[in-house]
């Protein structure tokens, strides 16, 4: 049964909530519910969700932290919230050669594993939650 559901999901791409990119930023939130930083931190560590710590050092204790990307400490001082939102949603719009995945995008990908095809890596609310967590990193 779950498999059948997953297959249906794979055939019809999930409809993303519309957003507007202005000056390398997404100024308006994707949802009406404000992001929750605590949930965002959990999502940033969760392998099946953000898994940001695989590539980025974060100011928290985790067994292993990656360094494929830059450390995220102080990121809220370096960027506006809208700039950080676009970096989570689709960082390739800023740097097309980036090796950071686009977390809220389903188009233009190549041979995505069947169980993920047509779905974004994060839900809209999860993007807002992770953003709320990033905004605590000063």
């Amino acid at each position: 049964f779950t498999e059948a559901v997953a297959q249906t999901a794979a055939r019809e791409p999930v409809r993303l909530v519309p957003f507007e990119v202005v000056d390398q930023a997404i100024p308006r939130p994707l949802t009406d519910t404000p992001g929750n930083a605590e949930r965002g931190q959990r999502l940033a560590l969760d392998r099946s969700k953000g898994n940001c710590v695989t590539c980025h050092e974060l100011p928290l204790s985790a067994d292993f932290q990656g360094n494929l990307g830059p450390p995220l400490t102080g990121v809220a001082d370096r960027y506006e919230p809208g700039e950080l939102r676009l970096r989570i949603v689709d960082t390739k719009r800023i740097n097309p050669d980036s090796n950071m995945p686009s977390y809220y995008r389903v188009e233009g990908l190549n041979r995505v594993r069947r169980d993920w095809a047509g779905r974004p890596m994060l839900e809209a609310q999860e993007v807002e939650d992770i953003l709320a967590y990033l905004l605590t990193l000063r």
């Binding site: 292993f64 932290q65 990656g66 360094n67 494929l68 990908l109 190549n110 041979r111 594993r113 993920w116």
Partner: protein, 269 residues
């Protein structure tokens, strides 16, 4: 990227004429571009503990596989009643250097074959024995045994002539972004070797140690099993082991590792 940009920029009339002239002249294909000019074995990225296991044949669990392979070498199988030794005699002589130049172009098949596939060709076409499943214990035992006979010899595959189109397809696979994470092989193994992904220290993704004993799996794994893992990790749809796509990719990887000593059977985390 730089090369692709240059290609597009050069698509003027002069370049087109030069291209046509090239297509007519029967010269050799141009040397492919090497992103990594001095390759490093994965052993340079392994921990001292892991290396201690690899460097002691008595500790290295892969030698259980090597022994099984040696036994199978001398054991008749199939309707023709022959063993590998019936035709190839002493493997330490006849198989020396083989691993270093595989995958290789097979004229009869008109394509490139991996060492695994060559073993299966001998089984099915000369011994009347069934194919061994890619990445099965029996086949990994045989390739570990054969591979050991080339240990220390430099990787040296031949990509010239009819082999070249297969190489080119492997190179294209390597450089194509795929999966939900939208990464190419080089995103990790060219742009970021020496950096960490959580607990994993990224190597250059060289293939000179395969088949390898993987501590995490507690068994000897074939190269294409590892490749499925890497594609899976970017949430890509992995090609089947033994497929043409992975065979061509393995061919490309062997060329990337050109000059590195065969380390079969290596040990990895």
């Amino acid at each position: 990227m730089a090369r692709r940009a240059a290609f597009l920029a050069g698509a003027g009339a002069a370049a087109l004429a030069a291209g046509l002239a090239l297509a007519q002249a029967p010269g050799p294909a141009p040397e492919p571009h090497r992103t990594i000019t001095s390759p490093e074995s994965g052993r340079n990225y392994a921990t001292p503990e892991t290396l201690a296991i690899q460097d002691d044949d008595f500790q290295n669990p892969a030698f259980l596989w090597v022994e099984e392979g040696e036994q199978a070498w001398n054991h008749p199988a199939g309707s023709a009643g022959q063993s590998c030794a019936s035709c190839h005699q002493d493997a330490t002589a006849s198989m020396r250097g083989v691993r270093a130049r595989y995958p290789a172009y097979n004229a009869a098949k008109g394509r490139v074959v991996t060492l695994e596939q060559q073993v299966n060709i001998c089984r099915t076409e000369r011994m009347g024995a069934p194919e061994l499943r890619i990445d099965s214990r029996e086949l990994n035992a045989m390739t570990a045994f054969i591979g050991l006979q080339s240990r220390g010899m430099p990787m040296n595959v031949d990509i010239s002539g009819p082999a070249r189109p297969f190489f080119d397809r492997g190179e294209e696979f390597y450089n194509t972004r795929r999966g939900q994470l939208d990464m190419r092989c080089g995103s990790c193994h060219e742009d970021n070797y020496g950096r960490s992904l959580r607990a994993d220290l990224l190597s250059q993704g060289m293939s000179n140690g395969f088949p390898t004993y993987r501590l995490k799996e507690q068994r000897v794994i074939s190269l294409q099993f590892r490749l499925q893992g890497c594609v899976n990790d970017v949430r890509g749809e992995p090609p089947a082991m033994g497929s043409e796509e992975f065979t061509n990719l393995e061919f490309y990887l062997a060329w990337r590792a050109q000059g590195l000593p065969v380390e079969t059977p290596s040990v990895r985390r």
